[in-house]
């Protein structure tokens, strides 16, 4: 079986969950190898984690360039490793950066790319990727017909399954291109964690929209989320108003989520919002307006004021749980 390279996303010295999902998917189409770039001293523990989830080999490259310059150093590294390993496929997380790295690597390898896959399977003519398109109104399957398939996969495509493997380290010394130092990272401010589940990883999400009315209004949304152990989402209207951080935005230009349960509060259900949440398993809506389009896609809806409905619901959940 050929090597499938997985670019391991990490932050604060820890593997991010989507990378473990990719390792799990990689096993369906070949033999997973992890690529760990710029992890410094954390490389050891990241290697161990990758091995636990099936990485037979772990390519490790470290250089100041990975942190100091944007995108291209990682493109140089991944393309170099892919060529040397004669990889049969590359899997990368569908983040803004992940997609850009993957696309440039694909171009260098003369290979086709599929972005934003929600599933990957083995097929006779190479990996088959499933994508959700046109605001999730269509599901398409695609294959790469030229070169080494490069596929970027959205978070939550599968649940990570451990499958211990050797995780043999291969240290790589990267030859950087002239373009590597073209875009300087002048400063970096890490996002502070809210302590709540990540939006793209959560099984349940409670969201608020313009109907929440003010930043303070989000406390009823957060309290409901906390009673369920859910992540908090927001519509673009709420984010644009400055009531909630952009990192929590759900929709076309925010995160696309697919949780088991999505509770939309004070959200009308515009196409751009639906694009980010309509593949959720169960959808619930609370809205004052009985005509709100969000009810068309809800499994259960309450026509009412969210400031009445949510606190009552939160109290009930707490009562049932204790």
């Amino acid at each position: 079986m050929g090597e499938v390279l997985v670019l391991v996303e990490h932050a604060d010295g820890r593997v991010r969950k989507p990378a473990l999902e990719l390792l799990t998917l990689a096993r369906r189409i070949g033999e997973p190898s992890a690529v760990v770039l710029g992890a410094g001293e954390a490389a050891d523990s990241i290697r161990a984690k990758a091995a636990e989830y099936g990485a037979v080999k772990v390519y490790v490259a470290d250089a100041a360039q990975f942190a100091d310059y944007h995108v291209v150093p990682k493109v140089d590294a991944l393309a170099q490793i892919a060529r040397a390993a004669d990889a049969v496929a590359l899997l990368v997380t569908s983040s803004g950066e992940g997609k850009e790295i993957a696309a440039r690597v694909a171009l260098r390898l003369n290979s086709g790319i599929i972005t934003d896959a929600i599933n990957v399977h083995a097929g006779e003519r190479g990996p088959i990727a499933t994508q959700s398109v046109f605001a999730a109104s269509y599901q398409v399957t695609s294959t790469v017909t030229e070169g080494t398939p490069v596929i970027t996969v959205k978070p939550n495509a599968t649940s990570p399954e451990p499958a211990p493997a050797e995780g043999t380290v291969e240290n790589v010394s990267v030859t950087f291109s002239a373009a590597a130092t073209g875009t300087k990272v002048v400063s970096r401010v890490a996002r502070v964690s809210s302590g709540r589940p990540e939006l793209t990883e959560a099984a349940m999400i409670v969201s608020g929209g313009r109907g929440v009315g003010a930043a303070e209004g989000f406390s009823v949304v957060e309290e409901l989320a906390d009673s369920l152990g859910a992540a908090v989402g927001a519509s673009r209207a709420a984010v644009d108003a400055g009531w909630y951080p952009h990192s929590n935005q759900v929709g076309q230009t925010g995160k696309q989520v697919s949780p088991q349960l999505y509770i939309a509060n004070g959200i009308s259900g515009a196409i751009q919002h639906r694009a980010g949440m309509q593949t959720s398993k169960t959808i619930v809506a609370v809205n004052k307006d009985p005509e709100a389009p969000i009810f068309d896609l809800s499994d259960f809806g309450v026509v009412g004021d969210l400031f009445d409905v949510l606190p009552q619901l939160t109290a009930q959940i707490k009562a049932r749980k204790s």
């Binding site: 944007h70 291209v72 493109v75 983040s95 803004g96 950066e97 997609k99 850009e100 993957a102 696309a103 694909a106 171009l107 086709g112 790319i113 999730a136 109104s137 269509y138 599901q139 398409v140 399957t141 695609s142 790469v144 030229e146 070169g147 373009a179 073209g182 875009t183 300087k184 002048v186 400063s187 970096r188 401010v189 996002r191 369920l228 673009r236 076309q252 230009t253 349960l261 196409i271 694009a275 593949t279 169960t282 619930v284 609370v286 009985p290 009810f295 896609l297 809800s298 259960f300 809806g301 309450v302 026509v303 009412g304 004021d305 009445d308 409905v309 009552q312 619901l313 009930q316 959940i317």
Partner: protein, 261 residues
């Protein structure tokens, strides 16, 4: 010397319409009316702002797309861009992102540029990778997904909101940037702008003009294939209850019945 700012805009099917695939598995561009991709309005806006703050600059809108894509160019011209360049060729039907990036790379070199400003993603294909591919092909820095952008003294800098961090990026011109929908509301064309746009020059170029071999683009030159496209069954509305003081309780009952609590 005058600064040349190119802004790349795409003509896309209206997202609020009923978008579909045709039989050859490409986007059906007839089923739904097209328009200037809303996310590219932000690119036009930032290009205009950079030009205005710089003084001596020219904003040129560039598109690759069918004849109707002139509507997208017109809109950008009526917002204030100075002139437009349109590449339209029958052989381009079904071109993938690599083909598109090769055509646009030739095109922007043909026109000449100091700065290329793109949107964050097209609202139809929505890959969000074209700006990076363009930078790769042109061998210039990419400064992408910016919520804030400025050009000063031949240097472009901006703020990028990533999943795990916010970064300040900086590169020397020439460069390719892309801006997000957080970069600032796009202006509405004024009546004067709309009238003026009618007189602004639009240059048409086909693949021959750009020296591009038709075999490398279009459906046949694509490196990926869509094998199946299935409409997702529309979600059906479930029960909707009116809150008579017990809305929260009834919602709790529903969640319990679905084993969420």
């Amino acid at each position: 010397m005058s600064m040349k700012i190119l802004t790349l805009v795409k003509y896309v099917p209206d997202a609020t319409g009923d978008r579909r695939f045709t039989e050859d598995m490409t986007t059906d561009r007839d089923a739904v009316d097209g328009l200037l991709s809303e996310l590219d309005e932000y690119a036009v806006e930032q290009a205009l702002q950079i030009s205005e703050s710089h003084g001596d600059a020219e904003v040129i809108v560039v598109t690759m797309g069918p004849a109707d894509a002139k509507d997208a160019l017109r809109k950008a011209l009526s917002m204030g861009a100075d002139r437009a360049v349109h590449t339209d060729d029958e052989d381009l039907h079904g071109t993938d992102v690599f083909g598109t990036s090769s055509v646009l790379a030739e095109l922007v070199q043909h026109v000449g540029f100091d700065l290329v400003v793109c949107g964050m993603a097209s609202t139809d294909g929505g890959m969000g990778v074209l700006p990076a591919l363009l930078a790769e092909r042109l061998g210039v820095p990419q400064v992408t997904l910016l919520s804030e952008v400025a050009v000063d003294d031949g240097v472009v800098s901006g703020l990028r909101d990533g999943d795990t961090a916010t970064e300040r990026l900086q590169a020397e011109l020439p460069a390719v940037v892309s801006v997000t929908d957080r970069s600032g509301e796009a202006r509405y064309p004024s009546f004067k702008g709309i009238m003026a746009a009618k007189k602004k020059p639009v240059e048409y170029l086909d693949l021959d003009d750009l020296g591009i071999d038709a075999a490398t683009v279009g459906l046949a030159g694509s490196w990926t294939a869509v094998d199946t496209a299935t409409a997702r069954p529309p979600r059906t509305a479930g029960s909707v209850v009116k809150d008579d003081g017990d809305g929260g309780t009834r919602l709790a009952e529903f969640l319990a019945s679905q084993k969420f609590i």
